[in-house]
């Protein structure tokens, strides 16, 4: 007979702190996982979109006849066919479902088509004749600022506005337009229900907010549309905004047939928002001991043609403009401009990435001006629990192990100082451009801070339902798994909190559960995890109470070491609990940007080691080490997955990932020219997880998805600066920035 202790040991592999196999892992590896691209239905039609070839133009006329004449075409729709609200948007509904009188960016949808196959749909869309009167696009964001073409302005004033330092460092910095470049392009299927409503299965990070926008534009009631979570191949912020969702529903309702769309790669680059390009002007003041006295910054992010989340991204950039440092005198002015460039919105790091590059470069320059070690300068000014966030004045109440991050990072072993003589490990890689004697090595550090969850008074919550049946526990949620491992961690929480070994996560549609909020802002493990923990805890208490027990496991309810009710008997009843989890409330900023703006914070630091060929300007990132504040690692392997992936995305931003936009037109909307790091560009990564419990997330967990990218790009840029002596005030760093200065 086995003892209870042994049985508990046998249940590893699925509890908090374990790293069980992801349930979708093997199917994804084998190609059996159903992504949105794989959805199909009987008598399904295919949709296609005709997009604007101009960054700014007036639509003079649209002739649909040539498209309707193509055999196999079932519908060709324009703005006139949108029955409800003609616009959508996350912060304000300013973006047309289909362009009406004007197109305001290159790639803006004008006409949608449904046809019997994808090729026919695309050919029919191309056959539509649109007469445009081409207008001068506004593409310079500084000109937009002067003309007051803006989505939001931010003003932060804290402390003495006249103080000056003994040492003053000025800088101007730029960050290019990064793309999320998820491997799965936008895709979806809309199925009419035969009663005037529709079921939508489409790539998303937040089905409830899609649902609100779809319902409004279709002119239907909320219960007539059901938005279903579906298989997503990556998101990184690109799937927060509506793109093909309303189009699919319009076509499905118009044709009374299921309609599917899959964006091709180039279309995906115009069909979703991008990371805001930024221009930043900084002035740091310090005393001779290196105490930060004052930080002044102007932050400009270009929102492009429509609002998306520009207001929130700008605000975040301003709130974290100083970085994780104490400073009692802060002046930040921010502007999110409206231009005819491609719309920008959410991307991993959400404004904190751009300013991190600027404030960390400033800290290095300040250290140089003070003739001080840059880490000593950072340590001297590092934020800690109990300090005020320098911009907003908010007191940090949860653990913020910034000093531990710095100390851990410094203590991590450095790579071998010898430059590799393997050609594939040198700058230039397969191109065989570079030999060890051409190489200069550099080391750079950067620290970052960001909020967790939604801020500025947003009612941020997640609902989850936990059921117990003979099959075990089921967590029902509308939270979106985009690849990050939510389906694993929610099951771990349910197993640990409920006490049963079998738990699965089931995605349900908007009619079956309330919102889980967005899979963004590093928030789902904390928010949906919190709801899962609360529902599981309540369910366990109810069951124990019902059977007068003191413990619950797979066998049933126990009391004082004896099984009192077997599980089979318990699951004859219906057991479920639904919980809604909210993080601590936040406030809107006052007129000086002050307030309890954020729910929590996370910090991380990165040390990058790079080999640079200064003469050709080529870079190989040798290694990126990191220490990250994670609260509690609920699934250490998933945490490391986030860290390695985030660092790769940071390396990409530092040296190659940029959408080149000229006169409002993206010149490289494809993977030939939008370069993502390959495995030959990937650094070795060592990660140290710093666990300090005390945050409000389940078991003290903090969100971990964004910190890996916030300071990794800045660290790589710093390392290139160290290797070359070049200013490196713009990322991505281009070969000519290194070679020709």
């Amino acid at each position: 007979m086995t003892t209870r202790t042994e049985r508990r040991v046998g249940r590893t592999g699925g509890l908090i702190g374990d790293s069980p196999l992801r349930p979708d892992g093997i199917p994804k590896l084998k190609g059996e996982f159903e992504y949105a691209q794989d959805l199909t239905a009987a008598e399904m039609l295919w949709g296609a979109t005709l997009r604007s070839p101009y960054a700014h133009a007036r639509i003079v006329s649209i002739d649909l006849a040539p498209a309707l004449a193509v055999g196999g075409v079932h519908a060709v729709l324009t703005a006139d066919d949108v029955p409800g609200r003609g616009t959508f948007g996350l912060e304000q509904p300013d973006q047309p479902v289909l362009a009406g009188d004007y197109v305001n960016y290159w790639g803006e949808p004008v006409v949608v088509v449904a046809a019997e196959d994808q090729d026919t749909a695309r050919r029919a869309a191309a056959a539509v004749v649109v007469e445009y009167e081409v207008l001068e696009p506004l593409v310079d964001p500084e000109e937009a600022d002067r003309r007051d073409e803006t989505f939001r302005r931010m003003k932060i004033r804290r402390g003495d506005q006249d103080i000056t330092g003994d040492v003053i460092v000025d800088g101007y910095y730029e960050v290019g337009m990064q793309d999320q470049a998820p491997l799965g392009t936008e895709a979806g299927l809309a199925i009419p229900d035969g009663h005037g409503g529709v079921d939508l299965y489409a790539t998303s990070q937040f089905v409830h907010v899609d649902h609100e926008q779809v319902v409004a534009s279709l002119g239907l009631t909320s219960d007539q549309v059901r938005s279903h979570p579906t298989g997503i191949g990556g998101a990184f912020g690109a799937r927060e905004d509506v793109n093909l969702h309303i189009h699919l529903c319009l076509l499905a309702l118009h044709t009374s047939k299921p309609v599917k769309m899959v964006y091709h790669r180039s279309e995906s680059f115009t069909g979703h928002v991008h990371r805001h390009p930024a221009r930043m002007w900084y002035r740091h003041h310090a005393d001779m001991d290196g105490n930060l006295l004052r930080v002044e910054a102007k932050v400009l992010v270009d929102g492009g043609a429509y609002a998306s989340t520009t207001g929130a991204v700008l605000a975040n950039a301003c709130y974290f403009a100083v970085g994780p440092y104490r400073c009692d005198s802060v002046t930040v002015d921010g502007v999110g401009t409206r231009t005819n460039n491609p719309p920008c919105g959410a991307m991993r790091g959400f404004g904190a990435v751009q300013v991190c590059f600027a404030h960390e470069t400033q800290m290095d320059r300040l250290a140089a001006a003070l003739d001080m070690d840059s880490l000593d300068l950072r340590r001297r000014n590092a934020l800690a629990t109990g300090d005020a966030i320098p911009t907003t004045g908010q007191i940090i109440e949860t653990p913020l192990p910034m000093t531990e991050v710095i100390d851990s990072l410094v203590a991590m072993p450095m790579p071998d100082a010898t430059i590799s003589d393997s050609p594939l490990s040198l700058p230039g890689g397969t191109g065989l451009t570079t030999e060890p004697t051409d190489v200069s090595r550099g080391v750079g550090y950067a620290l970052g801070i960001k909020n967790l969850g939604f801020s500025e008074g947003f009612d941020d919550y997640a609902q989850a339902r936990v059921r117990l049946t003979a099959e075990g526990a089921t967590v029902e949620t509308a939270a979106i798994e985009v690849g990050q491992g939510l389906v694993t961690v929610l099951a771990q929480i349910a197993r640990s909190a409920l006490g049963v070994s079998r738990a699965t996560v089931r995605n349900v549609d908007t009619s079956m559960i309330d919102s889980a909020g967005s899979t963004s802002a590093s928030r789902q493990t904390q928010l949906s995890g919190g709801a899962t923990l609360e529902a599981s805890t309540r369910l366990r208490a109810r069951i124990l109470h019902a059977y007068n027990g003191d413990d619950l496991d797979d066998d049933g309810v126990w009391s004082e070491g004896r099984l009192v009710t077997p599980m089979a008997e318990i699951t004859e009843g219906s057991w479920e609990e639904t919980a809604t989890f909210r993080h601590p409330a936040t406030t809107e900023p006052d007129e000086n940007g002050q307030g309890v703006i954020h729910a929590d914070f996370a910090v991380a630091g990165h040390r990058a080691v790079v080999d640079v060929d200064p003469e050709l300007g080529l870079v190989r990132v040798v290694r990126v080490d990191t220490a990250q504040d994670v609260g509690k690692a609920l699934n250490p392997q998933s945490v490391r997955g986030q860290i390695e992936g985030g660092i790769m995305q940071g390396v990409g931003l530092a040296i190659m990932e940029e959408l080149i936009v000229e006169d409002g037109i993206i010149r490289n909307p494809n993977f030939t020219d939008y370069l993502l790091p390959t495995i030959l560009d990937a650094p070795e990564v060592e990660a140290l997880l710093i666990e300090k419990e005390g945050s409000w997330g389940p078991y003290g967990a903090k969100g971990v998805g964004e910190p890996p990218i916030i300071s990794s790009a800045a660290a790589v840029a710093a390392a290139i600066r160290d290797a070359t002596g070049r200013p490196i005030d713009r990322i991505p760093v281009r070969p000519q920035d290194i070679a020709l200065l």
């Binding site: 695309r122 191309a126 091709h264 180039s266 594939l424 700058p427 230039g428 890689g429 397969t430 191109g431 065989l432 451009t433 030999e435 051409d438 003469e615 050709l616 300007g617 080529l618 190989r620 040296i655 190659m656 080149i660 000229e662 010149r667 490289n668 030939t672 020219d673 370069l675 790091p677 390959t678 495995i679 030959l680 560009d681 281009r734 070969p735 000519q736 070679a739 020709l740």
Partner: protein
């Protein structure tokens, strides 16, 4: 779309005389089809034409893949082959396709220019051999007639033993060349320098060749002068991939370094 699957070159070129589009590895053609730039009605698929995949001494069949060249080719051409796309692309893409597409950035083309290769072409009415500099006429423009098929590239019997390839790109693999270069040097000092991505066609830096060929044992200052001359001879453009200024600079640096390798 109508597709034919010839087994011989004769069958293939007779299909071409009806206006069909040849398809080899598809790594260029299918990209154009996917972008909607081309919609061929008739395609002649060449994979089953065994003759095209023959590699007979100094004649490399048009259907020989980059993967095979990477393993079996002369040194600098093998090094170029390694930089073509990903392993999947190298298993599909062919040298004939690289030649027929005639992209300024074609990774295999500087080698052909450096060794003065000829392009073998055939039509239903006959065959001809075209010297590389008479074959490549402009950006994706060649001397190939619509009914002609590239059947192979003809290299000299004796290739210089000292040869080196290099390619500058923003990523360490799978990248379109910002500049690529081949340098060869004979024992008597005769040096050839060919470059890609710095002109509408692959080009030779003939003044630089002349200067450095005359120097038996180049000094550091000779090498620097050589780099300066190469940079002056190229005629690059600025586009979304790089600037003319950087390409000019990188061409000189790369040629100098490759020459240095040949001299060791």
């Amino acid at each position: 779309m109508d597709t034919q699957y010839p087994k011989t070159i004769d069958e293939a070129v007779s299909a071409l005389s009806d206006g069909a589009t040849p398809l080899a590895g598809g790594t260029d053609l299918m990209v154009e089809v996917n972008f909607g730039h081309r919609r061929p009605d008739h395609v002649v698929a060449l994979r089953r034409v065994d003759e095209l995949a023959e590699w007979d001494g100094s004649t490399i069949g048009a259907g020989v893949t980059w993967r095979r060249i990477e393993l079996e080719g002369p040194k600098a051409l093998a090094e170029a082959a390694r930089t073509v796309g990903s392993p999947q692309i190298r298993n599909a893409g062919t040298i004939g396709g690289n030649v027929a597409t005639a992209s300024p950035a074609g990774d295999g083309l500087p080698f052909l220019a450096a060794v003065d290769a000829s392009i073998e072409v055939r039509s239903a009415t006959g065959s001809r051999s075209i010297q590389w500099d008479e074959f490549f006429l402009g950006v994706k423009k060649t001397a190939l007639e619509a009914d002609e098929l590239v059947t192979g590239v003809d290299l000299p019997e004796d290739l210089p033993e000292r040869q080196a390839f290099g390619k500058v790109g923003v990523r360490n693999a799978m990248v379109i060349a910002t500049v690529c270069c081949v340098v060869t040097r004979e024992l008597d000092g005769l040096t050839r320098v060919a470059l890609g991505s710095v002109a509408p066609t692959p080009m030779r830096a003939r003044q630089s060749e002349e200067m450095i060929s005359a120097v038996a044992r180049p000094s550091e200052s000779d090498l620097a002068e050589f780099a300066r001359l190469v940079a002056a001879e190229v005629s690059p453009i600025t586009d979304h991939r790089s600037t003319a200024e950087y390409r000019r600079h990188a061409a000189g640096v790369l040629a100098r370094r490759l020459l240095g390798r040949c001299l060791r």
